[in-house]
């Protein structure tokens, strides 16, 4: 039996979404009061009840969320925060204690990730070891928030207000990562990965070792760009191009194949809007006008590292 399941934190974020919905509903100055209330409320319900609601009901709920977003019903409110002068005054009073609260999160997250999974007596365990890192991060955020209430003298409602303001700045992009993960799942269920791997093998002269290893690295990057996730690409491209051509045909080292191949996939992650939680959500969180600004900054990085990977792979995989 697990005493602190991840589900507790899902309930908490579901409650935060419902809190945002209530605040929007009570805000007469909100430009899309009804639509935004519906979006955050429904998102709260399917996040909270995810485990008990039938999957098809959650699916239809998602369709409604997408329709609300497409109809431009999900926009930020006009509520402000403290004035710049007020902030400067408070910063002068609290000074470096502000960093203390911010650093409490990674502190608890790191200690928790290393210890939480090991705590158990008999049939009772505190957390599932596989989820220890996420739970520790969640605990860190909760503990630091409570500490911040005490330190600042602000009430809990202030953090719901400020958190809600930031969530509304992210807007509908918040659910994009989960929706894209679902698309990846549908691609797999439909066999898209096997199809792509077959194409690579039939079109390229993989009898040359350089072509085989380069095709694998670039294939990992391209397929990750399509799927938005290097993990999803790994099984497909390693099975379709890496193992048959690099390992079986040219006797390459599978450990090097995997390590450099996965990192080639990450180059793809840097260059695609499909990896929304790394590329799109941060752009919204930083209040950038151009939703793709982070990706544009990452394209030179991704291409440079991918090029290096092609050569690292070729120079090592057949040699060690």
């Amino acid at each position: 039996m697990t005493l602190l399941p991840l589900e507790v934190f899902y309930a908490l974020i579901g409650a935060i979404f419902v809190g945002v919905a209530i605040r929007v509903a009570l805000d007469p100055s909100h430009p899309r009061r009804r639509g935004s209330t519906a979006f955050w409320g429904l998102l709260g319900v399917i996040t909270l009840g995810g485990k008990v609601l039938p999957a098809s009901l959650v699916g239809y709920g998602l369709v409604i969320l997408v329709v609300l977003a497409a109809a431009r019903q999900v926009v930020p409110g006009r509520e402000g925060s403290t004035s710049p002068e007020e902030r400067a005054r408070r910063a002068e009073r609290l000074r470096n204690r502000l960093f203390g609260s911010a650093l409490l999160v990674p502190g608890v997250a790191i200690v928790g990730a290393l210890t939480l999974g090991r705590i158990q007596t008999g049939d009772f365990r505190l957390v599932d070891p596989k989820q220890a890192a996420l739970i520790a991060l969640g605990l860190g955020a909760v503990i630091a928030t409570v500490a911040a209430w005490r330190m600042t003298g602000d009430r809990a409602v202030a953090s719901v207000h400020e958190g809600g303001r930031l969530l509304q700045a992210i807007g509908w992009a918040l659910i994009l990562p989960q929706l894209l993960a679902a698309l990846g799942g549908i691609f797999s269920a439909a066999g898209v990965d096997r199809e792509v791997a077959g194409l690579v093998g039939s079109w390229l002269p993989v009898q040359y070792p350089f072509v085989a290893s380069a095709a694998y690295c670039i294939g990992m990057a391209l397929f990750t760009m399509c799927m938005g996730n290097a993990f999803a690409a790994f099984a497909a491209i390693t099975g379709g191009a890496g193992l048959p051509f690099v390992v079986q045909m040219h006797h390459g080292n599978p450990a090097i194949l995997g390590a450099v191949g996965m990192l080639s996939g990450y180059c793809g992650t840097l260059m695609t809007p499909m990896a929304a939680n790394f590329n799109i959500v941060p752009a919204m969180l930083l209040e950038l006008k151009d939703r793709n600004a982070v990706i544009k900054a990452q394209v030179p990085i991704g291409l440079a590292i991918l090029t290096a990977n092609v050569f690292i792979m070729y120079l090592t995989v057949y040699r060690f």
Binding site: I46, V281, L286, I305
Partner: protein, 248 residues
């Protein structure tokens, strides 16, 4: 071939700048149709996957109430005040220092924010404001940064966070990616050592650090150019006055 229709829908949809959520939903339905999956099953797959992947959204949502509260109490202002004392600071150096510290700590197994959580916890409240303040100080300190420059700095701060995170991660053996690879090779009956998987991530990690050095230097040069252009516009006739030698 027809099964690849979903990828085509995504490419066309992104190209036409249609709402991304609509594009993703359409790509899912198109792929399901091409593979002969019933519509109801596709909706159910979307629902189940959404619930299974709630962990992706968890870090950001749990972080924003805290970060919002601290920002309301002057967290960004305090970060800016600190960076102003560091004379050698430039936007590029602030971002590089953060990214390298992030990469090294992740490589040692100390992950401060999985699934993009560090963007909410560090980049927005600390790294981006510090880099902006450093750029402002280096550029003479007077007035606000031009909007283009500010956006450029923020985007590069987020990019450096992702790069440091991704290319440090695979050096630590207990990380998901290494375990996933080990599991995959086990399934294929291929013997692979997790230490070897982690060690062979190091060459790419070193390259990634060098690329970060290059990109953050380029950022500083672009900021300097952006500030010079903005100054030109403010004082016309001073710097951008056309030469007069050839005038009649």
């Amino acid at each position: 071939m027809i099964k690849l229709i979903g990828i085509l829908v995504v490419a066309v949809g992104f190209g036409l700048r249609i709402n991304t959520l609509v594009v993703v939903l359409a790509a899912g339905f198109a792929t399901g149709w091409a593979a002969g999956l019933p519509l109801a099953q596709v909706v159910e797959l979307f629902g189940r996957s959404f619930v299974e992947n709630r962990y992706m959204t968890l870090p950001v949502v749990l972080m924003v109430p805290l970060i919002g509260l601290l920002e309301r109490n002057g967290l960004q202002e305090r970060a800016v005040a600190l960076i102003k004392q560091a004379r050698a600071a430039t936007a590029g150096r602030v971002i590089l220092l953060y990214a390298l510290a992030r990469q090294i700590s992740v490589a040692l197994g100390l992950n401060i924010g999985s699934s993009g959580g560090a963007h909410a916890g560090f980049v927005r409240p600390l790294v981006a404001p510090m880099a902006e303040a450093a750029a402002k100080t280096a550029g003479g300190g007077a007035g606000d940064l031009p909007e283009k420059t500010r956006e450029l700095i923020r985007a590069n701060a987020a990019a450096a966070e992702n790069t440091g995170n991704f290319f440090g991660e695979d050096i630590f053996i207990a990380v998901g990616a290494i375990l996933l690879m080990k599991g995959y090779f086990d399934g294929q009956k291929i013997e692979v050592n997790v230490m070897a998987l982690a060690l062979w991530g190091i060459p790419t990690a070193v390259i990634a650090s060098l690329v970060l050095v290059w990109r953050t230097r380029a950022l500083d040069r672009r900021i300097a150019r952006g500030l010079a252009e903005a100054n030109d516009r403010k004082t016309p006739g001073k710097l951008s006055e056309p030469r007069k030698e050839n005038a009649p």
